[in-house]
Assembly symmetry: C2
DNA sequence: GACGCTTATGGGAGCGTTCCCACTGCTCAC
DNA sequence: GTGAGCAGTGGGAACGCTCCCATAAGCGTC
């Protein structure tokens, strides 16, 4: 490694030291074909002697590729970082990208006013592809980006209509798992606290709830349905409303863990024992699920795997941008704890 | 905006359309001095008509600045993303960087084997500066990066010896606040569940505990001290050990909220009422602090502000790299809830 | 020994900027 | 009327790399 020279060494200097031409040195660095063993050795020695590191800008200028991928988080800040789900996705994305030597450029598209600059930035001039984390149905960002001709993959569908270039958890299947479990436990009056109807995570989980009931030969009872906004508070509110309207309920499927935590609190406050009187199942398997009282039975999803899948899909799309690719659904599994 | 041309427009084309030279166009874009109003208008019109976006690679090649800052997260993955504290820092960093048009390149330095590539990447060839999130005392990364001549700012000191280029929460002051509060509540036997002694967050908070006791005219009693590793489980273990050894304790200061949650559980299991029999205070004001039973009194720190400070300090350092800058301490405040 | 073919090599051109210098008109003072 | 000074401008050179083409070297074949 020797002492670092005043100015970073260039490829030309490496070539000179190795006693070869610039072209040959370049070939060695880029997994080169057609290079003699002798030349390869000489170049590699020169590289490590000088501590040479290729200049990304110069390379990008000629290849017209930046080897960088943007992760645009267009969710309200509190939500994104409050939810460990997003953190897991980022982790998956980060490591998957690292493995293929791509850089992860993180863009927080927080305030809507910053959207302008964002749009401006998302060009081939800056990144080769975009990963988008946003669950809002009305978001025009995917369209905007695609209009730039940039490959995009969305994590979590905004709504059910989307058919391509997304990776999502199989919410319907997960919800069926949860509700089937409640049925199996002998629960007769199974309620649900759903998420917002305009988010796929909300509507799909509700869809799974209905499907599982149907599979058990039961009909949907509107009186057993209450919607929340995925917050703990809304879960508690919904639970109270359900208890008041339908005191005989003995099972609740919550569309996420946070709402389940709220429901648990409301049940306790109402004097219902969990799981003796009422079984509660959540969705997400967030860390908090293990520390509730009692620990929460929930549907496990792997955010990290989701991140990795997003990267895989994006790399495919970047390799052949012309065609659209079908979305990918990730399986879930039930984790049974003490709340059911 | 018109339909996007087959190939992205270059500065030359903008200049041609505006009827000026390349130099003048460049001057307009870079907040240029010495440009006539007429020329400026012409260039700006041409830019928006062509939808021109400067090519970052070409610019970086000549300016030798990339306008990108790396955020290296050298913590074990579970910890970083499990803790909302880190998420908050990232949010602060992201928005502060966005405001000055710098890109945030996220590097997860997870497995130690990837360290080699990381070191290679962290060069002026790729980023202008580095933000480092790591709390391990033995980490050689800061030194390595600085050896490259790259400006670095560390978030959270690895150990107390570090004097420059860091931003950290004032742990000592926060712990004093917490313990003084317990004293004020009339608690006589105040125990502490500390963090690992080899992390500043652990040792400083313990230091604050000792200082607050001294300020109240009390002596440190080793029997009231137990250390954990910041996990919920370790908090529960420590609490059990303390109760067994010193059943008369009536107050506990936990070095973080997660351990406090564990302690709360152990206290309940032991039949102690909180706060009637024992007051509990945490540190961090994590989201979970509001949903414990009872809600947790804790020391609030602002991770977002910490992120912003890190960016501010890094920008200063980048502007004048030669001199070292003293570290910055962020104040904390006590949030009183029902556990004390 | 000349020819063709393959393999390996050197280096020119060009990627899209910024930097800088030379140049043009002016205005103003003497 | 001349010269100095200045605002405004155009364009050459350079940044460090990859691409590609021309060429050299090696070798088997007729």
């Amino acid at each position: 490694m020797s002492r670092p020279p005043r100015t970073r060494p260039t490829l030309e200097e490496v070539a000179a030291l190795a006693g070869v031409g610039r072209g040959t040195a370049s070939r060695v660095i880029n997994g080169g074909e057609k290079v003699s063993e002798r030349a390869r050795q000489a170049v590699e020695n020169a590289i490590s002697e000088l501590g040479y590191v290729p200049n990304a800008a110069a390379r990008a200028l000629v290849t017209r590729r930046t080897d960088a991928v943007a992760l645009v988080i267009a969710e309200s800040e509190e939500r994104v970082f409050g939810e460990p789900f997003f953190a897991g996705i980022i982790r998956g994305i980060g490591s998957a990208l690292g493995e293929v030597d791509r850089q992860l450029v993180l863009l927080l598209a927080q305030a809507s006013q910053r959207r302008g600059g964002l749009d401006h930035y998302l060009t081939r001039q800056h990144v080769d592809g975009v990963l988008l984390l946003s669950l809002h149905a009305d978001d025009e960002l995917p369209g905007l980006i695609r209009a730039h001709g940039l490959p995009v993959v969305v994590g979590g569908r905004a709504h059910e209509g989307i058919r391509t270039n997304y990776v999502d958890v199989d919410n319907v299947q997960g919800a069926r798992l949860a509700v089937a479990h409640l049925v199996e436990r002998g629960r007769q009056r199974i309620a649900t606290i759903g998420g917002p109807a305009d988010m796929a995570a909300g509507s799909s989980r509700f869809e799974g709830y209905v499907a599982a009931l149907a599979a058990a030969g039961r009909e949907l009872d509107e009186r057993l349905v209450e919607l929340g906004d995925f917050s703990q508070e809304s879960g508690a509110d919904a639970m109270r409303a359900l208890l008041e309207r339908e005191p005989s309920l003995d099972g609740v499927f919550c569309a996420n863990d946070l709402m389940a935590v709220g429901a648990l609190g409301a049940l306790r406050a109402a004097g219902r024992r969990v799981p003796e009187d009422v079984s509660v199942v959540g969705f997400e398997d967030a860390p908090i699920a293990t520390s509730t009282h009692p620990p929460l039975t929930t549907v496990h999803q792997s955010p990290e795997q989701m991140g990795r899948e997003m990267v895989a899909l994006l790399l495919e799309t970047m390799a052949a941008p012309e065609q659209d690719r079908p979305g990918r659904m990730l399986p879930t599994r039930l984790v049974v704890r003490a709340s059911s």
